[in-house]
């Protein structure tokens, strides 16, 4: 059933593109299929947002065709690869794009599982009436395939038990609105202040929660700005975790493998990619009132990343693709899982294999403080620096810094204490 739905998604999207939007590129047939299979992969020139967000979202549909038909995370993984591969070879007259296959598959798995769990949390099989319908509708943008399957099966109204993903255990939802002061965020325009909306969602607790299944713990950050709109979407979910010391000890250390999806785009910079990281999350309690110090140290492999590069030289595309490696660290103070202070750093290296013959180094570090001013309200102040160093040849370098300060009024809702 899941495979049939993946084929159905591709057929539906292709027919809509061909018949409704009159896209000539969607009028593929046996001649295009034969040519695509014979000539194989190439790199495409699509816009950054198309390749780094729209394609992963589309991949999430394939993945969730599996999840909503009862497959677990690992069983649904092949569907993302199959769906993307078949679309690239049979859904378009263009030659199949290797960067699309990477981003749709790996990004689709990461975003798909996040969306599957978020929508499962929103839906409530014990709810009735108008509230139930609103919940089903609210979950639809995250998991349209799951929502469609539930509608067809009559599960929008049926009363029954919720799936395990419905209850994340400990969670934290934090919404913030305010202003960003950023230098060069609008290209070459000095210091700007722009409006910002920020969403942070922590599903589960990395240290307190024993490993059960992939993405049983994940975190999401979304930033929208008045300048450039959709600026940041970062998601990281653990694929595997194991305790490094006795769970009864006060200080806890957990080895984790995480899958990461990163998208950052504004008018001056574009960075993103699919990666896997391995490292240690730790927590040292302070006193008996729920306070503690948290640390994280991780090394990562970027399966395929993308970064803007003026010298890309590939048609209209203005960013490079390449794999890489990196590391990140974090030090924070929390109370019952909600962070008050975070100091963090992240260093990534991307070796371009499509675009400019370049090596890019990105260093992103900062400090973030959340100050409560009421039961749920607070102020969030942060300062970050995004530094990049791109080496296009032994003599041609491009070094840029993007400092930024953020001041937000925040509202926090947190679940059971971890």
């Amino acid at each position: 059933m899941a495979v049939a739905q993946v084929v159905g998604i591709n057929t539906f999207v292709n027919r809509v593109d061909a018949l409704v939007f009159q896209g000539t590129w969607a009028r593929s047939g046996t001649r295009a299929w034969s040519r695509n299979l014979r000539l194989g992969w190439e790199w495409d020139e699509d816009a950054f947002t198309t390749n780094m967000f729209a394609h992963p979202y589309h991949g999430g549909l394939y993945f969730n065709a599996g999840r909503s038909n009862g497959l677990d995370y690992f069983e649904a993984v092949p569907l993302a690869f199959f769906g993307s591969w078949s679309w690239e070879n049979f859904g378009e007259t263009y030659r199949p794009s290797l960067n699309d296959w990477f981003m749709t598959s790996f990004g689709g798995i990461a975003l798909g599982e996040v969306f599957h769990r978020v929508s499962s949390t929103i839906r409530n099989n014990r709810s009735r009436g108008r509230s139930r319908t609103l919940k089903e509708l609210a979950a639809l943008p995250f998991d349209p395939i799951g929502g469609f399957n539930r509608l067809v099966r009559g599960e929008w109204k049926a009363i029954g038990p919720n799936p395990p993903e419905h209850d994340p255990g400990a969670y934290m939802l934090r919404l913030g609105a305010g202003v960003r002061y950023a230098r060069q965020l609008v290209a070459d325009s000095g210091l700007n202040s722009i409006g910002a909306f920020q969403l942070d969602f922590l599903y589960g607790d990395q240290v307190a929660q024993e490993y059960r299944a992939p993405f049983d713990v994940f975190g999401v950050r979304l930033i929208l700005s008045s300048n450039g709109g959709f600026n940041v979407l970062r998601a990281s979910g653990r694929l595997y975790a194991t305790d490094l010391n006795d769970r009864a000890k006060r200080a806890r250390h957990v080895l984790a493998v995480n899958q990461r999806y990163d998208y950052m785009k504004n008018r001056a910079q574009s960075v993103g990619g699919q990666s896997v990281e391995i490292g240690i999350n730790s927590r040292w309690p302070i006193g008996n009132n729920g306070y503690g110090i948290r640390t994280a140290i991780f090394g990562d492999a970027i399966l395929l990343g993308a970064i803007d590069a003026p010298a890309t030289g590939l048609g209209e595309r203005n960013y490079d693709f390449g794999p890489g490696v990196g590391a990140r660290w974090e030090f924070g103070v929390d109370r019952n899982g909600a962070r008050f202070v975070r100091v963090f750093g992240q260093l990534e290296y991307i070796h371009a294999v499509s675009g400019a013959a370049a090596d890019h180094t990105v260093d992103f570090s900062g400090i973030e403080a959340n100050i409560p001013i009421g039961r749920s309200l607070g102020l969030s102040a942060s300062s970050t620096v995004f530094h990049r160093n791109s080496r296009y040849s032994p003599t041609l370098k491009d070094v840029r810094d993007y400092p930024e300060a953020r001041l937000l009024l925040i509202w926090t809702k947190a679940g059971p204490k971890p």
């Binding site: 000539l39 690869f81 399966l303 499509s354």
Partner: protein, 200 residues
């Protein structure tokens, strides 16, 4: 003589006890390893190229790993394809070696020896073209790659098996820059059919 050896090997494989006769044994357990080789096909595509370059070569691989469950294995695979008659255009008489080192997952869906494989990891490509009758220029590229495939374990004893594989390797190794030629954004796709030997 060679044909007789192949026929004997084939009969030995066919006559090997079917895994279905031992339904409760896992396909592989604990530390396992596998190596083998066979013919391969290489397709090189690049940015700005109107066509692709096709050639053939010999492949070899080695895998080692552990078991996650009775049906799922995880491991590391090193694969390479060598073609000593490679050329980007007709008349070139160079060579190329492309390969991957990947983290792989092998899944046995049932109790037969059938398995499917997927993986992702580092990819490398080396392209050598003669610059004169006595010298040659070499360009090395490093990048990323994915592999997918299927195979069959034929048990020959409790600890050993012959393994046949078909697999595809898609690798992106960047630019090939030689004094005489520049080929941008190379994607090398390799197809492999192989026979291997597994200890498990």
């Amino acid at each position: 003589m060679t044909r007789a050896v192949w026929v004997s090997a084939f009969l030995a494989l066919v006559a090997a006890p079917a895994p279905a006769q031992r339904p409760h044994r896992p396909h592989r357990s604990g530390l396992w390893g596998e190596f083998g080789g066979g013919p391969g096909r290489l397709r090189v595509a690049c940015s700005g190229c109107n066509s692709v370059v096709l050639s053939s070569g010999s492949t070899s691989y080695i895998r080692i790993g552990g078991t996650v469950s009775d049906h799922v294995l995880i491991g590391v695979e090193a694969f390479s394809l060598l073609d000593r008659g490679f050329g980007f255009v007709s008349g070139d008489s160079g060579s190329t070696e492309n390969g991957t080192i990947a983290l792989i997952v092998i899944w046995f869906p049932g109790r037969t020896g059938l398995f499917v494989k997927g993986g992702v990891g580092l990819a490398g490509g080396q392209f050598t073209l003669p610059s004169s009758p006595t010298t040659a220029d070499t360009s090395n590229g490093l990048g990323t790659g994915m592999t997918f495939g299927a195979g069959w374990d034929w048990s020959i004893s409790r600890r050993f098996a012959f393994t046949v594989n078909v697999a595809a390797y898609v690798t992106a190794v960047g630019d090939v820059v030689l004094p005489s030629r520049r080929v941008d954004d190379v994607i090398a796709t390799m197809y492999q059919g192989s026979i291997g030997f597994s200890f498990r």
